[in-house]
Symmetry: C2
Subunit: 446 residues, 2 copies
Amino acid sequence: MAGLIEPRTLKGFRDYPPELMIPRERLMDKARVVFRSYGYVPIDTPALEYAEILLGKGGQETDKQLYRFQDHGGRDVALRFDLTVPFARFAAQHIGQLGTPFKRYHIGTVWRGENTQRGRYREFVQCDFDFIGTTANAADIEIALVIHDLLRSLGFERFRIHINNRKLLNGLLEESGLAGKTAELLIALDKLPKIGAEAVLAEMEAKAGVGREAGQRLLELTQTQGSNAEVLDQLEQRFGKNPTAADGLQRLRELLDVAVRAGVPEAMLQVDVSIARGLDYYTGTVYETFLTDLPGIGSVCSGGRYDNLASLYTKQVLPGVGASLGLDRLLAAMAELNLLPKESTAAPVLLVFFEPNRLAEYQRMARTLRAAGIGVDVYPEPKKIGTQLKYADHRGFRFALIAGPDEFAQDVWQIKDLRAGQSATVPSTEVVGYLLKALGETAAGC
Amino acid sequence: MAGLIEPRTLKGFRDYPPELMIPRERLMDKARVVFRSYGYVPIDTPALEYAEILLGKGGQETDKQLYRFQDHGGRDVALRFDLTVPFARFAAQHIGQLGTPFKRYHIGTVWRGENTQRGRYREFVQCDFDFIGTTANAADIEIALVIHDLLRSLGFERFRIHINNRKLLNGLLEESGLAGKTAELLIALDKLPKIGAEAVLAEMEAKAGVGREAGQRLLELTQTQGSNAEVLDQLEQRFGKNPTAADGLQRLRELLDVAVRAGVPEAMLQVDVSIARGLDYYTGTVYETFLTDLPGIGSVCSGGRYDNLASLYTKQVLPGVGASLGLDRLLAAMAELNLLPKESTAAPVLLVFFEPNRLAEYQRMARTLRAAGIGVDVYPEPKKIGTQLKYADHRGFRFALIAGPDEFAQDVWQIKDLRAGQSATVPSTEVVGYLLKALGETAAGC
């Protein structure tokens, strides 16, 4: 045989070994439970589509990042670079049969041939959820509730969902005599957290011809301080007569009112007039979500309302509202906040293979535990106990279950708590109960 | 704006709308629970790899099916066509850090530019699990247990895991004086269920020069009938003195003994000397799994033991044993056997939006139910009840929850059982309990 092929991955791509994949899979599991609990249904679309479909909406940047090639049939195809465009195509094709309103979630891999210098990957997972086919504010409110429940279910207690409404922003610009420059101003405004007030003012002047004073007034407006009620009241007083702004304000008020009465702590919702989220796409409510302890990582769940999802592919008008959960950012945050258990096993118990001729008894006990919902890894060879316990330690098992001649003679098992370093001798019939209790107490079940 | 872009998917690719994706996701969830309960850990690898890596092992058929192109950096890349080659590359790269034994599962999409005429898709999901770094028969036995538990957890009660051992086959050929023709004979033998005995005999003669009589004796051997013990005893008597065959027989005996004593019904395990499963790769135990009620769809879970997983990429010898669950075949089977609930909602309860100014109360009740684990979809607009119930019917909700002025005045809710067509009036405080009981009884919770 010729020489070995060097095992390696492409630049910008990575393997997920168990210590990365276990928490990632847990996070996706938990997100799915929340989505389903609201009646969002899963869909999937092909990774590969006609380039024409994927490029329909893209600007030049998207074009350059696209993995695009000719397939065996000479078709011009590409790997999807997000889940929004495929969802628009999917909706155009299937909404007649699905009916509206329609709520879906989609967890899927996307590919972008980006510059990897910023520590970005060229392959990553997106997690989108959308509520389409209705303009009702009830849908906007629900998206805020889902965002809240997602973060809580992932173990975060300290976060804030920042909400704004593009109509309020538009009305505010109209009243300030800046309506014709909305696009340029909002692009500049969106950069505030990144580049600071001075640079934003300079850009407003350069790109929109808005003088320093007018720019400053605008910045001040978007920085309106106080409780949610105070902010809304101040804006109402100043811009309430503008019908566009009034509509935005009313929808924000109702969102806060219903969400709080439905059980979301008001401290977790914050009216923030400075967030605009891009430009053409969003037309109403917009959301960004920040972790109180790690504001620097940016928004971990963002989205907004749009007027028409699939205008490139169908004449049917499909308004909707949705958001995207930043899985990788959240995993990074959870690692930094020590919310990720350090383990590389999916089962909490290692069953030590001690007596060569007792495999049936070992497997029988393992099956009994699994039937009770306790994950058990049976070591495959009767190696020295020290070797097996080293394996257990390396992988992060919680308990080791051991039986040798003495234990079989007495019909008992030794249960070793690998973190506490303590052992107990437990009758065979009580092993399930003992471990269920122990794992329940440490919340380390499977 | 110019004309619309026609929304369509590529030939051989398909969307998964909710009615396909809900059962597919449930199936993957259940498989993951089984894998984890045995201590198998998840991994993931990139969809895109260096073509050189993916082609390392392939024959010409694979080459032609590969989605292969040049990326932005001029690299020769391709989409993975299975999960075995990426796992071999992954193991070569990471096994030093992971340590052995190592057990992983991998559920991932693969792409093959196959002829679609046979109803095959060019994009599909594979679900592989492997136990590597040990030659111990305990690992082979565990794979049989995992296959059994997978099928049971998916709701199948009538199936058989056919097991054989390539060593037994090899010994049998050695004793029949056919050792030099193993490859050709096993290729022919493997086709028995598809092309029948006559064609197999013809092929044995044409490709291996094995006369009709010798071929027939071989066929008869692989068709040895009787209970597992009878088959093993017969083969032992005839070939037990051949060391290779004896080794295979001993491993099969131990597998049956331990699996049955660990709780697997013997009727679900069948020694089947006729299965060989391909050629070069497998070297020991081999598995195929057939549904008793749908034998025609072929094996739904297949695999076997191999001597060396990653020889193309590393000098480290990595023996192992594994199998692959046929997700799409199982979904087709479940549809045919009516094991799939017909529903296109992920939540069992629709909360009807009746009174425009009661959204907070509706969302509050919905959140209370969700906290108890009951999925609730709140209709977003106060449309006519008839419209909302039609939506509920179309989606397959189990219950509708309704409250109007009368109900709010009395602090009760109407609960409509949409399948039974009956209604009950239930105090607010008892709605959770009522629905938990009703859903528990029909096993339709979320």
